[in-house]
Symmetry: C2
Subunit: 280 residues, 2 copies
Amino acid sequence: MTDIMTQFETSPNRYVVASDGVKYAYRKLGKAGTPPLVCLQHFTGTMDSWDPAVIDALAQNRTVVVFDNAGVGASGGQTPDSVEQMAIDAEAFIGALDLGPVDLLGFSLGGFIAQAMAARGKIAVRKIASVGSAPQGGEEHLLEVVTAAFAQNAADVRLPLFFTASERSQAAGRAFVARGAKRTHERDPESGKEISDAQAKAIIRWCADKTTGHALLKRIAQPTLIVHGSDDTMFPVSNAFEMFKAMSNATLIVYPDSAHGALFQYPEMFSAHVDLFLNA
Amino acid sequence: MTDIMTQFETSPNRYVVASDGVKYAYRKLGKAGTPPLVCLQHFTGTMDSWDPAVIDALAQNRTVVVFDNAGVGASGGQTPDSVEQMAIDAEAFIGALDLGPVDLLGFSLGGFIAQAMAARGKIAVRKIASVGSAPQGGEEHLLEVVTAAFAQNAADVRLPLFFTASERSQAAGRAFVARGAKRTHERDPESGKEISDAQAKAIIRWCADKTTGHALLKRIAQPTLIVHGSDDTMFPVSNAFEMFKAMSNATLIVYPDSAHGALFQYPEMFSAHVDLFLNA
């Protein structure tokens, strides 16, 4: 086992062709020896959308794998319009890398995918950290919030999307955007309309299904850390309370004065909380 | 500044006479250099009711002060029947030790007192960790839950009071009770009916006042960590959600399969969370 201690900023793109025939792009860094943490990305996000401060901090104590799911960024294949197919694709990718049991970090849509993967039980998932996520049937305001954020013509649309209007949250947002911009080589292509349309459809369908009584969450036995921002406008914090109450083994953490990108606003605190949870 | 690294189990009782004429008993351990953390105790609890695992862990990085409030344990004076008077008494004790700005750790009734102290603004409070607490007007089931717990004739009433019925929670409860029993010298006298009657009255009055619109919480600007057990029967977890929503700078953490004594069920995780919060 060799350590592969690389900063996320300079971590090279790697590729693997999975059993589904899709060529997946990924980056892998950190330290061998613990279950690897596979990161599942948000709506229209690519590998470059992760916060290097979060990924580097988490990679201090474990292997972290960041990838583009099918049809996104530098990966091949089609962007599915259902969470379940995204879970199937992520499982194919993880299977291709032969990672063994994994921990999952799912942000937003990535949290939906993590739930689906854990409930499907097709691959060995040890623990789940889910951030800014929602249960099936949860409350979403995706299109309104995204439309309103773009209408602001901010320097980066993630400033109004992921952070509150407070000066402190906006300053944290600007620092986050600057961290993410530092990587200059092998950046992923930005997501276009085909990706956003398919993913929006998947998100809206996931939240529209109000009939399940949280059956999927109730199937998840894995220890789960639910993290949310106090003032998330896209998926209100009530989603986190609901997930917490429906799950048998969940820990809930909610940060103050924070919106959808709570993990990027408090990268040190968030990484420390995830680390404690994964090490427990 | 000298370090006073003492295990809580063997930490000697000390005494100070405050400006209110009351002789307060306390124990002080840990490391000089950061704001001291003053611990505010639960209904009928004494210094010996704290978990040595929690106190010792917190004392790794700061001075921790544990004391008996007026009328309780080894302290003199009368047990008040209002939260406000308990806050005034705690302020007199802290003033007598000339501690400078303090952090507060309040458990249950102690969390009410911490809220009152922060809102009163008479002494300098830097940060607050509040566990198993409730806001003014919160939902309490004190008498029913205490009565039902005593009716179980458990080996220790805190097993049904502070832990869930699950085997894992009960095992953690037994370990907690064993940790607390190790101290043999200078144990506090147990609280009698005079103390429990006065404190119960204070708790019930605090929760009966439904008219404040959380005015007190809204006056608290200090960073606050709110910790709660998922299945607290005495003060349901909805109290923690309400406090979190009413406060301007609160972080919320809720643990799984845990009741009123969540901090004693997860002593390592809890101490690590408090440490991260106080160090941030």
